[in-house]
């Protein structure tokens, strides 16, 4: 297991450049800290990736490794932390939460984090456009309309918390209407 963290002001252990990537790797059972510039981090991660055994390799750890690698390629620490704080307006997930758990919070996240996810999808799938099955009974618009409900419900509970009851009431009516149209109980 590798852990990749960002800190500031340290020299790369392999050259004179600033170390932007700080990697904790397990060698045997001992954790070893490495401080590397982007180039050497890339080289190091590529090396350890190739050494990984694929039988029994699981998707989530492969994804985490790919994310770490991707960050090493393209991010310096400032950009990195800015991107971490980006939040989905619909479900409230931050990009940091996604990086930590490899799980998205709602369908809208694919739009919210599009910039960060596109290179990741290219890494995993080699493509970023669906060419397979299309639902026969509903379209993208129907799905989007329903996904908006996730945001309305969140807004409503926030309104209740801040005692904005008029707003909460309006949202409740809107939610009920949409849900009953969609047959959601």
């Amino acid at each position: 297991m590798k852990q990749t963290k960002c800190r500031i002001e340290m020299k790369c252990q392999k050259c004179d450049k600033k170390a932007t990537m700080h990697i904790t790797d397990l060698v045997g059972s001992k954790p070893v800290e490495l401080h590397l510039c982007a180039e050497h981090a890339q080289e190091y991660l590529a090396q350890t990736e190739n050494g990984m055994s694929p039988v029994g390799g699981n998707m989530a750890s492969a994804l985490a490794a790919q994310m770490a690698q991707q960050m090493a390629f393209s991010k310096v620490s400032d950009e990195f932390s800015k991107s971490d704080q980006e939040t989905c307006p619909v479900c409230g997930l931050t990009f940091f939460e996604f990086r930590a758990n490899s799980r998205l919070g709602c369908p809208e996240d694919y739009q919210t984090f599009r910039k960060q996810l596109t290179p990741l999808l290219m890494n995993i799938h080699g493509e970023c456009r669906h060419t397979g099955k299309r639902p026969s009974c509903f379209g993208e618009e129907d799905a989007r309309k329903l996904t908006a409900l996730i945001g309305y419900r969140r807004e409503m509970s926030e309104a209740i918390e801040t005692e904005s009851y008029e707003k909460a009431g309006m949202l409740r009516d809107k939610i009920r209407k949409l849900e009953s149209e969609a047959g959601i109980e």
Binding site: V55, M59, L104, R129, K133, A143
Partner: protein, 354 residues
């Protein structure tokens, strides 16, 4: 149907009557889907989980599948029952060990199982004996299309079916074929096959799925890519590769039979002897023996055991099944003793030596 009845019934995919079943144990397809109106699992409250379950139940009940399947709420099952369902490949470990409201709908013959509130709102699988991906896909796709009439999935034109993890987005489809490749292993050719599979983005895993070992030379080959290829393209990619691997395994079996028949027979005899004599036996050792027996049957070296018995035993030597058969944990025997006892009784029964 209760869990015990499900476990006792001979699941059809174990029958070993499908195409190429001397090498291919089973063909399986799973689809990942989410309801558009609710957050993915990471942001779903327990109340919302219940609402999603109701929504999915309603949608599935209206399908031809939904009318005669059994519904199991994980919270209402005991730990042993949940483990049994995992060992029988009817639900995932993640569903069994998860928290909060979650359930599974399973068809009586075990072909279909649908999991609600797993990594995605809905994970459904169809599994059949032998090498029959097209047939499995036809049935899986048909059920998916029926559900779609009653439920709006999270979907968009650009990325297809939207899933909690980007590794499944697009088709949401994972195609897995379980193969028994003892001859490739014995002739030390499996690594070559393995390396070439990796180059074309196919995943190779052991018998019990993610993170497991390839005990007994059982391997699962599945697709990694779910986006950018259509379902048919993914199917044909896996199909072509598996077809080629079957060819290599057959050649290796012919070679073994011609060049090493005596060695094979001696090895098989050794395995049978050790089952007869063992007081304790590990799962790994058992799978090694079952693998040798399976190969022996396929090469005509052994005629009094059938392949479906071996398939059945592969599931029954696992800890929860043994615990269930031998009545719980309150015993001085450990799993390896139960296992040895069970195997001996089962196989000696077949050989009329009991």
């Amino acid at each position: 149907m209760t869990v015990e009845e499900l476990v006792q019934s001979r699941r059809e995919w174990l029958r070993n009557d499908g195409p190429d079943s001397e090498i291919v144990v089973s063909s399986r397809i799973r689809l990942a889907r989410n309801a558009a109106a609710f957050p993915f699992i990471a942001k779903l409250s327990d109340d919302e989980k219940k609402r999603v379950i109701e929504l999915l139940r309603k949608a599935v009940r209206k399908t031809t599948f939904g009318q005669n399947c059994s519904l199991f709420f994980m919270d209402e099952l005991g730990g042993l029952e949940r483990k049994l369902l995992v060992e029988c490949h009817l639900i995932s470990r993640e569903l069994a060990e998860g928290e909060g409201p979650r359930c599974a709908m399973i068809s009586p013959n075990g072909h279909f199982s649908l999991m609600f509130i797993e990594e995605d709102h809905l994970r459904m699988q169809c599994i059949k004996s032998g090498f029959c991906l097209q047939e499995v896909w036809r049935e899986m796709n048909d059920l998916d299309t029926q559900i779609e009439k009653n439920l709006v999935y999270a979907w968009n034109q650009e990325l297809g079916y939207l899933t909690a993890c980007p590794t499944n987005v697009g088709t949401g489809m994972r195609v897995s074929v379980m193969l028994h490749l003892p001859a490739l292993a014995l002739t030390r050719q499996f690594n070559k096959v393995h390396n070439s599979l990796q180059k074309i983005s196919l995943i190779v895993r052991g018998l019990y799925g993610e993170g497991s070992h390839a005990w007994g030379d059982f391997y699962q080959i599945s697709n990694q890519v779910t986006l950018g290829l259509s379902e048919e393209e993914i199917l044909s990619q896996v199909h072509d590769v598996v077809r080629a691997v079957i060819g290599y395994e057959k050649k290796a079996r012919d070679f073994l039979l011609e060049e090493n028949r005596e060695k094979l027979e001696a090895g098989l005899e050794e395995c049978l002897k050790s089952i007869r004599a063992a007081k304790t036996i590990s799962a790994q050792e058992t799978l090694k023996c079952l693998s040798a027996i399976r190969l022996g049957i396929n090469l005509g070296l052994l005629s009094d055991i059938s392949l479906d018995v071996v398939n059945q035993l592969m599931l029954q030597i696992q800890p929860a099944y043994l615990q269930w058969i031998y009545g719980g944990v309150e015993s001085s025997l450990d799993a390896s003793e139960f296992r040895a006892q069970y195997l001996r009784k089962y196989l000696l029964g077949i050989w009329n030596e009991d």
